[in-house]
Symmetry: C2
Subunit: 243 residues, 2 copies
């Protein structure tokens, strides 16, 4: 291990600052450096959630994602840009750690559940001390706000990224007990069609900005339009026995 | 709505009291009545996690599960005993609410994710105001403590109760990206055999008491014996692309 600083991967939860853990809040109130990912021109959700816990002397380390909106997701240029970005971000964080400073890296939701954090984790693991603090996931906030238990008894929960093909989505949906479908965005129409084909539309709930200002919760069949925000979700609650 | 009290279903997280949310801690420090499920002779995890936030005047309402160890799980007597227990528990909580007192009902992990809370929720929903506070799930604590991201990119996560049959478990495992297998207990040997048949043993991690004293984390292939605690878990991390 080089340096003496420790990296904290801090899950800040789904959006409501009150849904941060006691541990996350304490780490943020003590960390000399707080790093966070953001897109150009936006401070990002994670910073907004966490900011109230910073001290006046907290050093912020913004890590700006490369511009990728013009580049198709499957493109090699996209992959290459992101790989370089995670290399550079890891290097900047490692510099602070080597200088003896602890760094808290903010992670929306839970760091090890579909997070950007793991790309940093894999680069720095074994080279610097790292501690991960779990966070409330976005999906948990969504089913809580929708007022619907997601799984009962023997229900299987499947979490499906909307980026999967129609065929893969449909195969998974045909054996569904409970479903959470994430990463909607431009995949929304494809996901909705697959749910209809699997006969699940009547059970599906659409949630946008769960636990945040501007929250939208409605039956999927009442959702208009063919697009949704990337971080919107669809829930299909399980139907296991209720005692 | 009858009465003026409000029921809070409070997720207290996976075991480490530091992994409770700010919101849960605040509700527990204000609630005049705190209810919790427990087995005879044991105060239970939830109370141990939450107790530090109580005030001297906090009224505790223990809800003792009926003795079911001699009754087979699938038995009608088991179902009937639990149904009566949830009826009675709901009645006791409703009495406090009707008397104008807020009640915080402690829930290990997340209230809407395989929890006992939903049996109370379905009985009192629409009759009394209810607010649910999500919590860090046990599975999230387990993958965090195991130091392994569970899902990347397009990975599908499946959460499988070990109570399912060998055939159902195997069918799910054969299409696995990432898996979390819960409710091990006496199902452990069946689950291990299914994982071996699906060729997943080498990727599987066994976690017992994640984030709690006495924590055990080891490769599944190194786990001896044919039983495990009911709340132990097996994780199979996804292998989606890492940038």
């Amino acid at each position: 291990m080089t340096g003496t600083g420790k990296l904290f991967g801090v899950g800040v939860g789904p959006g409501d600052p009150d849904l941060m853990t006691l541990k996350a809040a304490r780490i943020l109130s003590r960390a000399p450096v707080v790093a966070y990912f953001h897109k150009r021109g936006r401070a990002g959700h994670a910073l907004a959630i966490a900011h109230a816990h910073f001290r006046p002397e907290t050093l912020e380390m913004p890590l700006e994602y490369p511009l990728t909106t013009e580049v198709p997701f499957q493109d090699d240029a996209y992959t290459s840009a992101l790989t370089g970005f995670y290399d550079l971000s890891s290097h900047r964080i490692a510099e602070a750690l080597t200088a003896g400073r602890d760094v808290a890296l903010l992670c929306e939701g839970d760091p090890f559940f579909y997070g950007s954090f793991m790309h940093i984790y894999h680069r720095l693991s074994g080279r610097h001390p790292i501690e991960v603090v779990p966070g409330i996931t976005g999906m948990s906030a969504c089913w809580t706000r929708a007022g619907t238990p997601i799984t009962y008894g023997d229900d299987v929960l499947q979490v499906l990224p909307g980026t999967l093909s129609h065929e893969v989505l449909l195969a998974r949906m045909r054996v569904a007990d409970a479903l959470v479908i994430m990463k909607l965005g431009r995949n929304f129409a494809k996901v909705r069609a697959a749910l209809a084909e699997a006969g699940l539309t009547e059970r599906a709930i659409y949630v946008e900005r769960g636990s945040m200002p501007g929250e939208v919760i409605l039956p999927l069949k009442d959702k208009t339009g063919d697009t949704a925000p990337y971080f919107a979700m669809i829930l299909v609650p399980g139907r296991g026995r209720c005692l």
